[in-house]
Amino acid sequence: MSRPVLDVQDLKKIYGTGEATVHALRGVSMTVHRGDYVAIMGSSGSGKSTLMNILGALDIPTTGSYKLDGVEVGTLSDAQLALARNRLIGFIFQAFNLIPRTSAVANVELPLAYAGVKPTERRRRALAALDIVGLADRADHEPNQLSGGQQQRVAVARALVTEPALLLADEPTGNLDSKSTDDVLKVFDDLSAAGRTIVIITHENEVGARAKRLVRLVDGAIVTDVRQSPIDLPPVGAAAAHARVQAVAAGHVAAGHAVAVRAGGTTYGSPAGSEWNGGRHSS
């Protein structure tokens, strides 16, 4: 396999000093390759959020190495970190974290604006991303006019609009009802089927069950790391959910096909997706 998207070695994070010291992470090592869909599970206090913030370059580890797409994150300057967050990572928060009083499409445009994309091109790509999460008709709504599930789908669109190498989701369904949870997870399934690399944190078993790989974290250390479905095939959860459509064509996975159709007519087509398709055909 090619260069891993994400490679952490012996990651430690210690909060506080003296007696109040908390070891949030006690040496986590893991590698995630392109196209994988990893769910990190653990109870609260297991250090999974800390891990996620470090993976998202929002926080820095006390010790340990973190390579993102082959680049050692710890050595990056502030400006380079901003660039990495912008180009390599799409982060989805539990609390959505949309900019208030700003329309959905403007929120999705934001990372592109920081990337220096021209306004017309930006608008087109933002609308395409909103289309992928099924919210093209809500583009002009402000966050407070959207339901929780819709807000999270806007946040997903915002995370994937720059075509990042890695999508990170920190309990994306933690604040959602089951219907909205299903909507958001379907988007993740589609994205995974389209070849996106996704790391998701959750404490809900049904969320973890849909991933291709399940990592369990207890007290800041990995206890189990189970592959649930092959990295170069659509996730089992998605396969089950789309079982009916899956039978349609042998050469196309239903979910992947659906994404391709939705994104049709735009240049939004995922390069990772085509790479994955190629890989699948050759295997």
């Binding site: 913030n53 998202g56 370059a57 929002l58 926080d59 820095i60 502030d78 400006a79 901003a82 660039l83 990495a84 967050r85 912008n86 180009r87 990572i89 982060f91 928060f93 974290n97 949309l98 900019i99 208030p100 009083r101 700003t102 403007a106 934001l110 990372p111 604006a113 920081y114 990337a115 220096g116 306004p119 915002r158 720059t162």
Partner: protein
């Protein structure tokens, strides 16, 4: 991301919370306008005082009797006034105007009457010496004075009271039973203090003495110098002559001015004193303005800190999306600049509009430097306290900014 885009971001940031932006600008507006207006009011009253003194004439001195009870030995007489006209002893004197004034003379015209607050009897030279030119008609002549003709020049207030809509020239008015012919109307004069200086009437000295004041002493003698620089010389010439006339020994007059039976008022020295007073007044108001600038500045500081602190989370989101620190800094600095500059400009506009109105009886006169000071300080405070917390938040790790409550 170019500068223009950052400006657009800032505008969107401001319009996203219109009420907060408006309140911030209001705070700056009030701070700026209060400082400019306060200084303008101080300056205006100082200017009003000096205007009034200048209106008295800077090249005149006024001789008044200090004697009370009108004892003949200390009273000023027409003879003394005449003695002052002496080209040898007093070469710098341009004119001498003896003055008798009667207060509250009632003037009647066709059944309507008006109580004139100061009824002045004098000579024609008085009009020039006291800077009260005649606007309409003519003043009386030296001949009128010699003949004791009953003619009168009235002030604006009197003209309005007695002759509403009528030309007062050549009309006959009655003053204490005697008929006077109105020959002229004085030009309007700015009022001094509580007294309406337009509520006056001027008649020949002899006529007033006959009708109202009697042939006793003069109220004062107004002496006009040939040149404003000669006022001091005139003052010494006048005292020399008067000392002779009143038999005051020169030692006692120079040693102790209180012992002289007369008092000399010098308008230019009065002006100097008053200018100093006015300067003190301006300094006082400047201090008040500085305090209001401080208070206004604290207000601006407060709202800027709150505004940016409240948006720390937003800064965290923007950083997580890959906004470089400089872009965030620039956005918040532009927002702070726009708020400060717009608020400051509106404050200046408010102050300029406000200065057209009379405030507590004073017509404010804007001091240009106060505009610069107020706007400069407000913008500096706005930028500093808008920029500083933004810089702090932009330096935070995104996760700390996001967790900020």
């Amino acid at each position: 991301m170019n500068f223009f885009e950052v400006v657009r971001f800032s505008l969107r940031g401001l319009s996203a919370n219109k009420l907060r932006s408006a309140l911030t600008m209001l705070g700056i507006l009030i701070g700026v306008a209060a400082v400019i207006l306060l200084v303008a009011v101080g300056n205006g009253s100082a200017k009003a005082i000096s205007d009034r003194i200048e209106a008295l004439g800077t090249n005149t001195i006024t001789v008044m009797s200090t004697g009370r009870g009108g004892s003949s030995s200390t009273a000023l007489t027409k003879k003394m006034a005449d003695a002052l006209i002496d080209p040898e002893l007093a070469p710098d004197i341009k004119s001498v105007s003896p003055v008798v004034s009667a207060s509250s003379a009632t003037m009647t015209y066709e059944g309507s009457d008006h109580s004139v607050s100061t009824f002045v009897g004098t000579t024609p030279a008085w009009f020039a010496a006291s800077s009260t030119p005649v606007e309409k008609g003519a003043s009386f002549t030296e001949d009128d004075v010699n003949q004791g003709r009953r003619v009168v020049v009235i002030g604006q207030t009197v003209a309005e009271e007695l002759f509403p809509g009528v030309d007062p020239i050549d009309k006959q008015v009655t003053v204490s039973g005697a008929l006077f012919t109105v020959v002229g109307v004085l030009k309007e004069k700015s009022s001094t203090g509580f007294q309406d200086s337009n509520d006056t009437a001027v008649a020949p000295l002899t006529a007033v003495q006959q009708v109202l004041a009697g042939y006793g002493s003069l109220t004062s003698i107004i002496v006009e110098a040939k040149d404003p620089d000669k006022v001091d010389a005139v003052q010494s010439e006048v005292s020399t002559i008067l000392d002779q006339q009143l038999n005051v020994s020169s030692t006692s007059s120079s040693g102790n001015s209180n012992s002289t039976p007369y008092r000399i008022q010098n308008a230019s020295s009065l002006l100097e004193t008053q200018t100093e007073t006015a300067d003190t007044f301006t300094t006082l108001l400047g201090a008040v303005a500085a305090i209001s600038l401080l208070v206004g500045g604290i207000g601006i500081t407060n709202i800027m800190l709150v505004t940016v602190t409240e948006r720390t989370r937003e800064i965290g989101i923007r950083k997580a999306l890959g906004a470089p620190r400089r872009t965030i800094m620039t956005q918040f600095l532009i927002e702070a600049t726009l708020l400060s500059v717009l608020g400051g400009a509106l404050g200046v506009a408010a102050a300029l509009i406000g200065s057209h109105f009379t405030i507590v009886g004073v017509k404010p006169v804007i001091v240009p430097s106060s505009i610069g000071l107020a706007v400069g300080v407000s913008i500096a405070i706005g930028l500093f306290f808008g920029g500083l917390p933004a810089a702090r938040a932009a330096r935070l790790r995104p996760i700390d900014a996001l967790r900020y409550e």
